[in-house]
């Protein structure tokens, strides 16, 4: 942010925001989630007890300790993906064949669609992904405790605790995926459905195991009632398709994969795009 052309009232507003809101915050990102340990331990316990009992032998205390070590020993801008190696080694587990789902720019839709892993198992439904989903964490710059005020975003520094975590997790998820690979992209995203630089492009595709993958299925979803920025075979989606072809993968691309579109329509049931070809009438009775 530059001070170019700032009027006195804008300056005052900025000052107020800094004092009241940020209050001297060091970084641009959200601070550590409160009660991080309890939340993470609880999620781990729930995962092994209920969501995926095949993993009941995992040790949640050891996982937390491995995670905590990274958190407390490293400077907030010097955390690398390999720092999480121990944590990943303790938490990794096999991913059922044909159940992997990669995505960009549609976290909530993915969460709704995958319903706790029963249909597909995206990264956030794998133990190590579950651990960190929707949470934020970092150590204080000058101190050994956690910083609850703010944490480095990718704009502050590349090697921050959260981004490095997801890079490492993404690499592992990719390596352990097999069979049919699904990819959900957002064709209404103005910046492009397939981010050329992003987790999927840089930390997932490069780690696909060619000998374990049969084919890749891309779904380009469009928001109901919003313009279609890109579709299959267009723009950044074409770049992705070219890349996969060059890598020797068999792939297919579908616009608005019906099961997912049906879900999007729940919130737009009266929109013409959501009309079902239905002979069943809904009869109102009062």
């Amino acid at each position: 942010m530059t001070a170019r052309g700032l009027t006195p009232s804008l300056l005052l507003l900025l000052l107020l925001v800094v004092v009241a809101g940020a209050g001297g915050a060091r970084w641009r990102g959200e601070g550590t989630t409160r009660h991080l340990e309890s939340i993470m331990r609880g999620r781990c316990a729930e995962y092994i007890a209920r969501l995926n009992p095949d993993q009941r032998d995992k040790n949640c205390t050891a996982l937390w300790e491995a995670f905590r070590m990274v958190l407390l020993r490293k400077d907030p801008c010097s955390v690398f993906p390999s720092d999480y190696d121990l944590f990943i080694n303790l938490s990794r587990h096999s991913i059922p064949r044909d159940k992997s789902l990669f995505w960009e720019n549609n976290h909530l839709l993915v969460t709704s669609y995958t319903e706790s892993g029963r249909r597909l198992m995206p990264l956030c439904n794998v133990l190590y992904g579950r651990f960190g989903d929707f949470l934020s964490w970092c150590r204080q710059e000058n101190g050994s405790g956690l910083d609850y005020q703010s944490c480095p975003s990718s704009e502050d520094c590349e090697n921050n605790a959260v981004d490095s975590f997801w890079r490492r997790a993404s690499m592992q998820y990719s390596r352990d995926s097999s069979g049919v690979i699904h990819v959900m992209l957002n064709g209404s995203e103005p910046a492009g459905a397939y981010p050329i630089k992003g987790f999927f492009a840089d930390f997932e595709i490069p780690y696909f195991q060619k000998d374990k993958i049969t084919r890749i299925e891309i779904w380009v979803m469009h928001d109901i009632g919003r313009p279609k920025a890109e579709s299959c075979g267009e723009g950044s989606v074409k770049i992705l398709e070219d890349r996969l072809r060059k890598m020797g993968f068999q792939y297919s691309c579908i616009n608005d994969h019906p099961p997912v579109k049906l879900l999007q329509c729940v919130d737009h049931s009266t929109h013409p795009d959501c009309a079902l070809n239905s002979k069943f009438c809904t009869r109102r009775w009062a």
């Binding site: 609880g42 949640c60 879900l263 729940v266 070809n277 109102r284 009775w285």
Partner: protein
């Protein structure tokens, strides 16, 4: 008992007509008797008693950690406006309701401290009840986040899908088994909890209340269900002016109008007696779409 003589006694001299050997035996015997009389009650009190065996599934593994983690997730992430709630206190109040107690004698009173700590106002017109339609109702509120099922409130979110019970003879949770409602006892800690929270959830509702019902079963309105026994009777007529039922039928089912069924008529009658209006819709559109997500190839689910 032998009387004592102060004079020295030689080893061979008998005392009170009992031989020395017998005297030793008697002493040993009484000594053991005293030891047993003291040790057995102490042993009974101190020895960890095996939990009673019930017919139902035991307490969920890692119950307390899951409970606490969910409380923090809910109050810090899902509904941060409840960030002031004290999860440690709430966790302790929850376990305090059933630990060291007979799991077949649970009462609403046991859960009172917990209820007080987890009070939560649901906005009017946003309460969603359900009966024999759990998956569908919760899939719906996952998308329509402005609406709340009981399991979308703090306490429901914490307890959903978990099982728990204690034992009057122990301060531990019973992980092996817990009372089954039908085969063991109905006033068990698990059932009493859900009856208590369901009652409050209904009492707190206001405006138009919605309910998702299953039109593909015979008793669409089941008077023995929690909805039929507890919730319907605890809606407050002065706050709730209408109950709107969404009766969902399985995709591809021949049946499509359970709003006209006799069980729904029973529900209508009960509500009329309670001065609450009733309306019913078969296969409410948005929820129909949700059903189609799992059956996308069915003709009625095609765009």
């Amino acid at each position: 008992m032998a009387s004592h003589r102060l004079s020295s006694v030689s080893e061979e001299e008998p005392c009170c007509d009992i031989s020395r050997k017998t005297k030793i035996c008697l002493c040993v015997f009484f000594g053991l008797l005293i030891a047993v009389v003291i040790a057995v009650p102490v042993g009974i009190l101190m020895w960890p008693r095996p939990h009673k065996e019930w017919k139902g599934e035991g307490t969920t593994a890692h119950f307390y950690e899951i409970l606490l983690g969910r409380c923090y997730t809910y109050t810090q992430i899902v509904r941060p406006e409840l960030g002031h709630k004290d999860c440690q206190k709430i966790g302790k109040a929850f376990t305090g309701a059933f630990l060291s107690k007979d799991p077949c004698s649970s009462t609403e009173q046991d859960y009172k401290p917990l209820m007080e700590l987890t009070d939560q106002a649901v906005p009017c017109d946003k309460t969603l009840l359900w009966s024999k339609s759990s998956q569908l109702a919760h899939d719906y509120t996952r998308v329509r986040q402005a609406m709340f099922t009981l399991e979308d409130t703090l306490l429901g979110y914490m307890a959903d899908g978990l099982r728990w019970c204690g034992d009057s003879g122990s301060s531990d949770m019973n992980y092996k088994s817990c009372p089954n409602w039908r085969e063991d006892c109905s006033n068990n800690s698990f059932s009493v909890f859900w009856n208590t929270v369901s009652k409050r959830f209904a009492e707190d509702a206001c405006g138009v209340v919605h309910v998702v019902l299953n039109g593909s079963i015979s008793n669409t309105f089941d008077e023995r269900s929690t909805f039929g026994r507890v919730e319907v009777f605890n809606l407050r007529p002065e706050k709730v002016h209408r109950l709107q039922a969404w009766v969902m039928h399985d995709i591809g089912s021949a049946r499509s109008d359970s709003c006209s069924s006799s069980s729904i008529n029973v529900l209508k009658r009960i509500l009329k007696e309670r001065s609450i209006a009733f309306s019913c819709e078969n296969n409410y559109g948005p929820i129909r779409l949700l059903q189609c997500v799992k059956n996308p190839d069915h003709p009625s689910c095609r765009f």
